[in-house]
């Protein structure tokens, strides 16, 4: 019954900064409910790729198509800018590595979560607040901090708030750039566990950029290994990590420190 069409289809995507090829000739498909991890070292083009996929950086070449509700697979860079912006704050979510880029630091936690609802027309304060409370609870935030500004929160809290802010419109596809970067290991574990639960519960599709193979193992169904802007290996997460074929992947896997 392999009739389902992909949620996201990428064909021959290339992005160059001047003469520098940041990512080169990348093609893949993402199906509904799948979590794809993009791994590789710093400078391998992971973040550039993620930006191209998430409609925030027009690729030099290639096509990114998304299964728009009611319209089917559509080239996201052929959409008008308002359509693209609407997509980014409704059916998509983007969790940034640095919460400062993904949150409004001077707006309360509740307001941060409510913004996406208000952006799509919610005008009932009580309902917005209730929904925000639900989501803050889901990401294990203390409701006593709901009216505090995120600039006073810890890194882990900011990251959880960012997740709630993105998920409140029930997106189908979430992009995450190093979601656990810069956090203590114990905080990381909690966040990973939370993400893992949410992804499963909500049947989310996600594309997660990370250089941490343990994060990839825990969250991703599939991996794409990047090196020098190219995808050198793809496959199921456990397959790529347990039976790596490409020399670079073997090096990457064998370089992980065991605890």
């Amino acid at each position: 019954m392999d009739t389902s069409s992909p949620l996201l289809r990428v064909r021959n995507l290339t992005h160059a900064y001047g003469n520098l090829l940041a990512c080169s000739d990348i093609s893949f498909e993402l199906h509904s409910g799948e979590v794809l991890g993009i791994v590789g070292e710093s400078g391998s083009g992971k973040t550039t790729l993620l930006n191209c996929l998430s409609a925030r950086l027009a690729p030099t070449n290639g096509i990114v198509e998304y299964d728009l509700r009611g319209r089917g697979l559509s080239d996201i860079y052929a959409l008008s800018e308002p359509e693209r912006r609407l997509l980014l704050r409704t059916d998509w979510g983007v969790v940034m590595q640095n919460p400062r880029d993904g949150l409004r630091m001077d707006v309360s936690a509740g307001g941060n979560v409510g913004e996406r609802l208000m952006a799509v027309g919610a005008r009932h304060y009580g309902a917005i607040r209730q929904e925000a409370e639900d989501w803050l609870t889901k990401v294990e935030m203390d409701l006593g901090r709901m009216d505090d500004k995120p600039k006073h929160f810890s890194g882990g809290m900011q990251q959880r708030l960012q997740i709630a802010r993105n998920l409140v419109t029930k997106p189908r596809l979430v992009f995450m750039d190093e979601p656990t970067g810069g956090l203590d290991v114990s905080v990381q574990a909690r966040l990973l566990d939370l993400l893992r639960g949410l992804v499963r519960e909500l049947r989310l599709s996600a594309i997660i950029v990370t250089h941490d193979l343990a994060v990839a193992r825990l969250l991703a169904d599939r991996l794409m290994v990047m090196k020098d802007g190219k995808v050198v290996e793809t496959g199921l997460t456990d397959q790529v990590l347990d039976d790596p074929h490409h020399p670079y992947t073997q090096l990457l896997v064998s370089s992980v420190l065991q605890v």
Binding site: S108, G111, R116, L117, M118, H124, Y125, R129, M146
Partner: protein
């Protein structure tokens, strides 16, 4: 000889009529036409230096200078009053450079330039009101990036403005914003009504007179044509409401005007008076009378007593 040239040759002290040169006025008038055509949209204009600092109404003055003619009668108010420094100086300025008659009566004026108020008296289709605007961009406190603000306007993405009202309710239990209260103009553009009290917002809706807005420092002009829908933002469960006072005007007894609180002493003595000084004076002339509150009467008596003591 065209009217413009004729005007250009006249005027006081070698200044052109109404201070600005004719090319500048033409440029501003074009911007005004665009602003009227796209209600609520901020039109950039080439703002000129005026002989007073930014923040003192240079934007409003440039708009007034561009639309005023010899047959006009000008009224200028500042916080509702005709006799405060800003109002007096701007009125004198135009009396000198345009040689137009000035008035304190809203009904007699053909142009009303205002800072922070809409007059209490109703205005008519043959009148124009010019607002002095310090910050034309209602999204600015929330979104510092100009490009992003412009995109939000272009795509009518105004969720963020609602967030600021949400923050108010979360913090104060109600929408505490009491001036510069954001409005939607003609169901399309989000607009800052300038720092008028939200008390005046409902007057802007379906207003018979043309409303023009000039921001000198930010170099933006916008407008609301007569009889345009102007709606204050709110939530379904926290509807927009204007300020109310527990007392009436102590001088004229008006019950439905915007009142200023006047502190009389350090014992809690205070009184409320109409902020629209001309409206209040006219009512008093018509025989309306207010009543001093107890605390105000006490403060008054104490002040009179002290004066008598000093005399004695």
């Amino acid at each position: 000889m065209s009217a413009a040239q004729q005007q250009a040759t006249e005027g006081d002290d070698g200044y052109n009529f109404a201070y600005l040169d004719e090319q500048t006025k033409r440029m501003i008038r074009r911007c005004l036409l665009k602003a009227v055509a796209v209600p609520g949209y901020q039109v950039p204009f080439g703002g000129r230096e005026m002989p007073l600092p930014y923040g003192w109404g240079t934007g409003g003055m440039q708009v007034t200078a561009s639309i005023i003619g010899r047959d006009d009668t000008l009224k200028v108010i500042d916080q509702g009053a005709d006799d405060t420094t800003n109002a007096v100086n701007i009125r004198r300025f135009f009396a000198r450079v345009a040689e137009v008659p000035t008035t304190e009566s809203t009904a007699e004026a053909s142009i009303v330039q205002t800072r922070h108020r809409v007059p209490e008296d109703p205005m008519r289709e043959d009148q124009i009101i010019v607002y002095q605007v310090p910050q034309p961009e209602p999204l600015r406190p929330l979104e510092p990036r100009e490009i992003e603000c412009r995109k939000m306007h272009a795509y009518k993405e105004y969720g963020l403005m609602q967030v600021s009202l949400y923050e108010d309710i979360a913090r104060f239990g109600e929408i505490a914003t009491s001036y510069s209260y954001p409005v939607m103009v003609g169901d399309r553009y989000l607009m800052s009504p300038t720092p008028i009290p939200k008390f005046d917002n409902p007057k802007m809706d379906d207003f018979p007179a043309l409303q023009l807005f000039g921001a000198g420092r930010e170099k933006r002009i916008y407008a609301i044509p007569p009889y345009t829908k102007v709606k204050s933002l709110d939530f379904d469960d926290h509807p927009f409401a204007v300020q109310q006072w527990e007392e009436d005007c102590a001088l004229c007894g008006a019950e439905d005007t915007f009142l200023d609180e006047v502190i009389l002493d350090d014992q809690g003595g205070k009184m409320y008076v109409c902020s629209d000084s001309h409206y209040c004076a006219r009512r008093r002339a018509e025989g309306h009378e207010g009543k001093l509150s107890e605390s105000a009467a006490r403060a008054y008596a104490a002040a009179v007593g002290a004066a008598e003591e000093e005399e004695a």
